[in-house]
């Protein structure tokens, strides 16, 4: 048991575990819609598009990290609504438009950060997260904004469900379809901002997609998919951090690798539709 308890004696580890579990739950629940609506590429692009905003904040605040959450939040919401508008109006295909914008914004972010002296270290924090550097203040922000996201997913459950399954029905029931779509984009944006510190922009899409995809293989109803995804997300974060502690590997990568391993096991062996159990 001591191997389980030993890391808990470090406050930074406790904060990291709490932040990781919170982020795991929020990403997984929102990720349920990302998976069902085929928005994985959008989620990936959104995470990367946040980088220039964060970099700008970083430069303007003189390397100070406390305000970065707000920069990430603002950029993510702007970018999600911008991508949403672009995909509705553009004459080129949606995924092409996202690809162009996302690579460009990501490059801008890297360019901005490269003007700072401690370039390599800072960039890697933004790209891959720094869950062990989470402060109490970060933890509170994560809990508050993550809580708001979960609350909105909960109260608009039947609207998001109907809209995702059958947009024409949602329209004939006179739901405000455009508003709900934008709300969902904004929720994904807040989730991205909340998770940046933990997994970083480069691996964010894994937290959004992998636990939800695993739950998709295991469940047949939306709310069960959300619950199972949340459990897998939180468990991946906690387990991943232990791996990170004992094997001395980067925390974000350890979390994502754990989630991926769970997905592969479920994909191959799950009793319902596992690849090796079929036929």
């Amino acid at each position: 048991m001591t191997w389980l308890l030993e890391p808990l004696s470090y406050p930074f580890m406790l904060r990291g575990l709490a932040a990781g579990a919170l982020v795991g739950v929020v990403c997984a629940v929102v990720g349920t819609y990302v998976v069902l609506r085929g928005m994985a590429f959008f989620g990936d692009a959104l995470a990367h598009t946040v980088l220039p905003g964060v970099a700008l904040g970083y430069i303007l605040s003189g390397g100070e990290r406390a305000s970065l959450f707000w920069w990430a939040l603002g950029t993510a919401i702007l970018a999600s609504l911008g991508i949403g508008a672009l995909s509705r109006n553009a004459r080129i295909k949606e995924d092409t438009a996202i690809g162009v914008i996302f690579a460009g914004m990501f490059a801008l972010g890297i360019a901005l950060i490269s003007t700072v002296r401690s370039y390599a270290v800072d960039l890697s924090h933004f790209l891959f997260g720094d869950v062990l550097g989470v402060t109490n203040r970060d933890l509170i922000l994560t809990a508050v904004f993550g809580g708001i996201v979960l609350f909105l997913v909960f109260i608009f459950y039947k609207e998001f469900l109907t809209l995702s399954f059958d947009p024409v029905l949602a329209a004939t029931l006179r739901m405000p379809v455009g508003l709900l779509n934008n709300l969902l984009l904004a929720l994904i944006a807040v989730t991205v901002a909340v998770s940046m510190q933990t997994v970083g922009v480069a691996l964010m899409v894994a937290m959004l997609v992998t636990p939800a995809a695993t739950a998709y293989l295991l469940t047949r109803r939306l709310w069960k998919m959300m619950v199972v995804a949340a459990i897998i997300g939180a468990a991946s974060s906690v387990t991943g951090l232990y791996f990170s502690y004992y094997l001395n590997i980067a925390s974000g990568a350890a979390i994502v690798l754990t989630a991926t391993a769970i997905f592969i096991v479920v994909f191959l062996f799950n009793p319902r539709q596992g690849a090796l159990r079929r036929g």
């Binding site: 399954f165 329209a171 029931l173 998709y216 047949r220 939306l222």
Partner: protein
């Protein structure tokens, strides 16, 4: 969110005046006018790309017409939540994590209102709707495990749970075997007894003739609207379908073969 409009019973349930829809300068519907009274059962026939789905979307208030007006019980369609749209089975994600009861309950969303969860009354509506389509025992079944006929009946149950008074069914019989088609057609009788107005898009001219009060023959414009024997005449059909239709005279009975069967529009 979720309007509620009282119906004026002296108005026709559906009244279309000079409807036209154009996409990128191409005409999809051109100057369509007709009206329906409550409880009527209409087959909408026409070749692929005739604009059947477009017409349904305009009637449902989901697609605004380029010109012309639609009124449902005296007001514009978007003021109503009583228009049930039954989608083509091919357009549905059958792996979506929902069961039959979940899908039927979606129909209750508008009646429930925002920020509300299903009450016992809503569940009663869902169960009654499932009883009507004889699927009560399948309420907990995942939708991907249903047969084609069951999938179609589930969507009709959803429209019933919605308390729809006007149902628009997009190719509900396409791809079903004969017993399943019969199940749907029997269900149409039940709906008529409940005074539900039904418009059914179909490729099958024989069924349109046999099972419907009125037939609408559509190909961008209205080629005919009236009793089946008045509309489904060779000369009118040939005009609407052009050379995409073959007429076969079998034992004195005219059989029509539509060689454009069964694709998307």
């Amino acid at each position: 969110m979720y309007p509620h409009t009282h119906h004026q019973s002296n108005e026709p349930i559906l009244d279309a005046q000079n409807l036209s829809v154009r996409y990128d300068g191409r005409s999809a519907l051109d100057d369509i006018s007709f009206h329906l009274h409550a409880g009527e059962r209409v087959a909408v026939v026409g070749p692929n790309g005739a604009g059947k789905s477009t017409l349904f979307k305009v009637i449902a208030g989901v697609l605004p017409p380029t010109s012309g007006t639609v009124t449902v019980s005296g007001s514009r369609p978007a003021a109503h939540v009583c228009i049930g749209y039954v989608p083509q089975r091919a357009h549905v994600d059958w792996n979506f994590p929902v069961n039959v009861a979940d899908v039927v309950m979606m129909g209750r969303s508008a009646v429930m209102g925002a920020f509300r969860w299903p009450t016992r009354r809503d569940w009663n509506f869902v169960h009654d709707a499932l009883d009507t389509v004889e699927m009560r025992g399948l309420a907990a079944r995942q939708i991907g495990e249903l047969s084609g006929g069951q999938q179609q009946r589930m969507f009709i149950a959803r429209a019933l749970a919605q308390e729809a008074e006007l149902m628009l069914m997009d190719e509900p019989l396409t791809g079903l075997d004969l017993p399943a088609q019969e199940g749907i057609l029997n269900l149409l009788d039940t709906l008529q007894k409940q005074n539900v107005t039904v418009m059914v898009a179909t490729h099958d001219l024989d069924q349109a003739e046999k099972y419907f009060d009125r037939v609408m023959l559509l190909n961008q414009t209205l080629f005919g609207f009236g009793r089946p024997d008045a509309v489904l005449k060779p000369e009118i059909l040939l005009k609407a379908y052009g050379n995409r239709l073959k007429l076969v005279d079998a034992n004195g009975k005219l059989t029509t073969l539509d060689d454009t069967c069964c694709g998307d529009e």
